[in-house]
Assembly symmetry: C2
Homo-oligomer: 413 residues x 2
């Protein structure tokens, strides 16, 4: 099964808590089965590779302890890039540079861990290799907190972000209910076009806490008047209203609610107000009660301290499956999860043609959303809950998590 | 040692992760030593008590499992209030109402868990009892993420918030370093007058990550020109600059930096911009590179999922000590931590006259801050590090933390 020669792995796009777990899985799959001679890692994805920036991962990760630490380290050990690979027609030299590099370093397989844009890179490179008779196969490994890749039941990284969102919403509820005064709290959650991560807020509900009382996704056009009505209706029933909104909610003309405020600060700079802050200002004027907005910031994609065990375990497994697939010479494929059963929760890993995945976006099924567009049904819970199950026991050092050393990323190059 | 009769406990002020641990400690101390007949809990502090809102905690917390769950539940099981007890000269009827309640329910000891304002309540009630020959003693138990109470080495709740801040800063660093483009990230941390919680950001530094590169506290007047110079100087050396600022930083005239923007949104509402957002806008104009601000929101005071073991253990212990003190008939005292040694870290619990504590505020020692006012020295680390040591293993249910049921708080009353 061993593929003669070496391979290279890269990471690209936005960070998640599980993308290093997939990298760790690829490495574990290769080391355990001796699938390649050397495993290289591109630093800052394909953009870094074009500048000859790479590491020898076979020399760095020499113990299971280090591989386990990598599994639990947030963001990207190898660094990322936001680089749209140009088409071969426009920039053949870029492709020649890359494949010269592959030849020079005897690279047989190119693994790329990423989201939509990264899968476009996988497609283009695999096409180039086929069309030009290059013996380099290309495998994509999904990751994104946005969960918007098609074909796969879900994406590595989503479950941990979902666990962060649900846990945070519950903790915000505890923080909110303590005062005996009416209040509205808006929690803004990541997701520009797909509201998957906001759907996870429903998992915060318990027998004693209905939060979030209202949930708004980009999949449904946002109507400001109806929103204000919805909030007022809940306020009649409950002292504290807690609302989950996607950052990407849009009005019926497709304009972001976040952009519509057009605020300018004292220095004349345009204030880019998020959806949460915009709704906060509007509700303050409408309701005359305490209103606050909380932006679940970058921690929702980088808080490894509240990772989902299921997510990390699966991310390692999908990395291992990718390693096997690559070593078998498969190309132009992305590894995917297939859900075999909800209860007990069970997934299998398979692979699918990258051409059907790249540049596609999967949004939340409209059948999950109620008619009023402000809540979700049981189907959402059935899908979501298994993905956040299980906890990770990090190792700590000096009171903070002991993550992998990433000094190679933050020095000025 | 048993004090004949009953006692009542309340919580007041802003939430922390450890305030329920102190409540649990008081209950454990009482139950283990049978110190009182019944333990009541006021709902929404003294304000709720004046409306006759209370629970019988002896009937609710009947197992160690429930007491342990309470220890790990964030915010306030009993609810809070922001109520400044008027002076007896102005509102004697309020005092009469309270002491009538105490007499009616045979309350011998009044325990109050809170920060500065709550200790003012402890002082006033104990004075009234003394002056009017009432056999009710009053004991204060500190809590605040702000760590600004005098006499005690630190306050319950601070260590967990500090652990959240340090861990989050490290995770934000991992999230930041992945891109090979220059960027500045500003992290805004709670603290209006005292910068204690912002000092904890220094604990995020590891051998591979210098973040935060700059630290600004309210204790030092904030100079905008110097700030911009500081950021530019770090930017020369490092690709990514990460800055920790207290929400309460002020200029040399004492004006909050957060208030100075005076922005107005498209609806004509005044935008209350925080310090982080204000600095973000200024740096964007000055530097022309990627600048973002992250507000560590209410989770820094309510994220029990990353609580400090040291903090929770100590909070239980100080609660038990308060129970003992109360049962001995002591009054007008707050329980305090005394640090016996840094290495090994060791604290003792003692009590101190409330008159010397109420309405006082303890700020960060200026001797910890460098001359430039943008960093801290080793003394800060020596003080802070033990407070964030140790982790809590929460129990989870359906993928989210299994906290105490607080349905009694969030219903409309």
């Amino acid at each position: 099964m061993k593929r003669e020669g070496n391979c290279i792995i890269g990471q690209s796009g936005g960070p998640t808590v599980a993308i290093n777990a997939s990298l760790s899985g690829v490495l574990q799959g290769i080391f355990e089965n001796k699938l390649y001679n050397q495993v290289y890692g591109m630093v800052n994805g394909i953009e870094g590779l074009l500048q000859d920036k790479f590491l020898n991962l076979s020399e760095i990760f020499t113990s299971q302890e280090e591989l386990d630490r990598l599994t639990q380290t947030p963001a990207m050990y190898l660094g990322s890039c936001r680089f749209k690979l140009p088409t071969c027609e426009h920039s053949e030299d870029v492709y020649e540079d890359l494949f010269n590099f592959f030849e020079k370093h005897n690279i047989r397989t190119f693994f790329y861990i990423g989201g939509n844009d990264s899968m476009d890179t996988v497609l283009k490179l695999s096409n180039y290799a086929k069309e030009n008779g290059k013996d380099v196969n290309v495998i994509g490994i999904p990751k994104t907190v946005d969960n918007d890749l098609p074909m796969t039941d879900h994406t590595p990284g989503f479950g941990s972000a979902a666990k962060y969102v649900a846990t945070s919403l519950l903790e915000i509820a505890h923080d909110t209910y303590i005062y005996n005064i009416p209040s509205v709290t808006i929690v803004e959650i990541m997701g520009r076009n797909a509201g998957w991560l906001t759907t996870a807020s429903i998992l915060a509900r318990t027998e004693y806490s209905p939060a979030p009382d209202l949930i708004y996704l980009p999949e449904v056009a946002f109507d400001m008047d109806q929103f204000i009505e919805d909030v007022k209706a809940i306020k009649e029933k409950r002292k504290n209203v807690i609302i989950a909104v996607s950052e990407g909610i849009k009005d019926c003309e497709g304009n972001y609610i976040s952009a519509s405020s057009g605020a300018v600060d004292a220095f004349g700079h345009k204030q880019l107000c998020g959806a949460g802050k915009t709704l906060e200002n509007i509700l303050k004027a409408e309701l005359g009660c305490k209103v606050r907005s909380v932006e679940l910031n970058v921690l929702q994609r980088s808080a490894s301290h509240i990772a989902s065990r299921t997510d990390l375990d699966e991310a390692v497994a999908i990395g291992k499956a990718a390693a096997k697939l690559g070593s078998e010479g498969e190309t132009a494929k992305m590894v995917c999860y297939k859900r075999v059963s909800d209860a007990p929760y069970q997934v299998e890993i398979f692979s699918y043609d990258i051409a059907a995945i790249a540049n596609q976006e999967k949004t939340v099924p409209l059948s999950w959303i109620n008619e009023r567009g402000n809540d979700l049904n049981e189907e959402a819970i059935t899908y979501l809950r298994p993905l956040i199950e299980g906890e990770v026991h990090l190792s700590f050092r000096n009171g903070v998590p002991h993550y992998c050393n990433i000094a190679h990323l933050h020095d000025r190059h």
